[in-house]
Symmetry: C2
Subunit: 327 residues, 2 copies
């Protein structure tokens, strides 16, 4: 299963850090871009991404391209996204498509098939974007999530459902207290989550839904391909969510540029040292700027990845969460 | 402003109904599709959409293409989406891109620029998808919505923020009761919304945020380009939301195929007869199936649009919500 494959790669590289491939025209090394057409920009994104993938594929288990960066440049951008996915997979990397899709039933099914499954054609079903994992938005409720889970089961893929996001105003709805229903009380009690007057935050309710999916769909090491997005910027909430969803991998944005620190991020890991993949985008792929080495942008990104890995490894050691398999 | 332009078109056609252009390979008239490549499928989508646009552009104010249907076929599909947007605008239609995008600040900005604004290129900013309106997911909170509102102001575009969606499990989070904060109590009181023990549903809190944006960004007829998605399938909730967001247009999915009835949908309109655009997709574009007239699919869709318009017009008359301008 894809979840076991991801854990194997984390073990192989002794590293749960992934790189966000979020190309931004304004921040590309200038020599990569000589024309202004969307096709030329998309081509530059590919050259940039492929070079970074070449430079880091032996260090990281996965990459996480951010769909918005590509979608900006329309069909040409989406083409660059698809080719980046294909190239990364060729190099043995797992691909987490960060697209935060969400819709009602039959449209959710279309998104799930587009990114993770096979789409219908007159001569049979074919893979389209073909990512391994996808980020998914839960606002529409369970019948908007079910089609994604179903496609994960059918095609051996994974999702990360947005639970507690890393941005400053994520609490506007996610942190609001909600009365917990009887069946939910039972599940929270079982998971040893303290309620406040029989209430809990929306992010915990969404987390419980993730847990309910996850426990029914697990790989040989006990972890599930139904994961959660939990921001590095909210370590206290992460600790509760870690208890609530023991089988789910957390995709953790917010390290570095957004202010998430490694000593806080360890809350996203279980005691066995697994349970999270930590993403950094700008801190890695634009490391060349700080070092003023545009021609060597890929080498700069490799150095930045090494520094991040050491930082996270040290934090795991300090927290007593060093994976047994890494000894 | 785009909101005034939409209201003018609604007046001109005496019709608030829009058509969802959601092409599905399995349901295309068979003669349109002879090959299985994504490019051939995308080409068939274009032929299908263009013919329907030709057949209905004098009847409706806008079309609403569903991005998921196109994204299924990767870059080729996205190309068909872009060309559909361009063709519809050429024919004088307003285009509502139904993509339900949402992300944190700088990524939300990327999506907003991609769909509604201009994107950066070395030789200056250029329009990309170039829709007039976009559907947006609120789960990430205000700093995920602000960039969309800002692009609307800068480029004279509009958004519909998901508030109460039409699907059966939309209530899983959207209907949960939440304690209302002091500043929110004041706003709900001003809008004459009854609270329950100082609590209200999440959809009302999201609706209040929409209202706060909308009242600051209004066109010459008082309506705002910051609208809300409110499902036709929840008429009681729609009545409350109508009171809460007097300046916002509602994009109303769920008519027809999903079970929303015209007598319920009138709750989405203000007493002046404006305030909602009603979408139908499958009921219109696949009308040829029921009538068994694949070669005449566009004419079948025109007939279906006429029937829908009459149904909604009759319901508005019965409810005493016939717009003054239509007399």
């Amino acid at each position: 299963m894809i979840i076991d494959k991801l854990l194997e790669k984390i073990d192989e590289k002794r590293n749960p850090c992934v790189v966000g491939l979020d190309p931004i025209v304004e921040k590309l090394p200038p020599h990569l871009l000589t024309e202004s057409s969307f096709t030329a920009i998309a081509e530059a994104f590919k050259v940039f991404n492929f070079a970074i993938i070449d430079a880091i594929h032996d260090l990281v288990p996965a990459i996480k391209p951010q769909m918005a960066c590509y979608e900006k440049y329309g069909a040409a951008g989406v083409q660059a996204f698809e080719e980046t996915v294909a190239y990364a997979k060729e190099k043995g990397l797992i691909v987490i498509g960060d697209a935060k899709r969400g819709d009602i039933g039959h449209t959710a099914k279309a998104y799930a098939e587009a990114h993770l499954g096979k789409v219908f054609t007159p001569s049979g079903r074919k893979f389209s974007t073909n990512a391994d994992w996808l980020t998914v938005n839960p606002y529409l409720g369970k019948d908007g999530l079910d089609p994604f889970v179903k496609v994960c089961e059918e095609h051996d893929r994974g999702i990360f459902i947005l639970v507690k996001t890393s941005n400053p105003s994520s609490g506007q709805w996610q942190d609001r207290l909600i009365d917990v229903k009887d069946d939910e009380v039972a599940d929270f009690t079982e998971r040893n989550i303290q309620l406040k007057d029989r209430r809990t935050e929306l992010y915990n309710l969404v987390g419980l839904q993730v847990h309910r999916y996850a426990k029914e769909f697990r790989g040989k090491r006990g972890y599930s391909a139904i994961g959660a997005v939990v921001g590095a910027t909210y370590p206290e909430q992460a600790a509760t969510l870690r208890k609530l969803m023991p089988y789910s991998l957390f995709l953790v944005p917010g390290y570095g540029a957004q202010g998430g620190k490694s000593k806080d991020i360890v809350n996203c890991f279980n005691n066995d040292g697994y349970g999270a993949v930590i993403n950094s985008s700008r801190g890695i792929i634009y490391a060349w700027e700080t070092l003023n080495m545009p021609r060597d942008f890929a080498r700069a990104s490799r150095n930045a990845v090494r520094i991040m890995i050491t930082d996270i490894q040290d934090a795991l050691k300090d927290a007593g969460k060093w994976p047994h398999n890494w000894n």
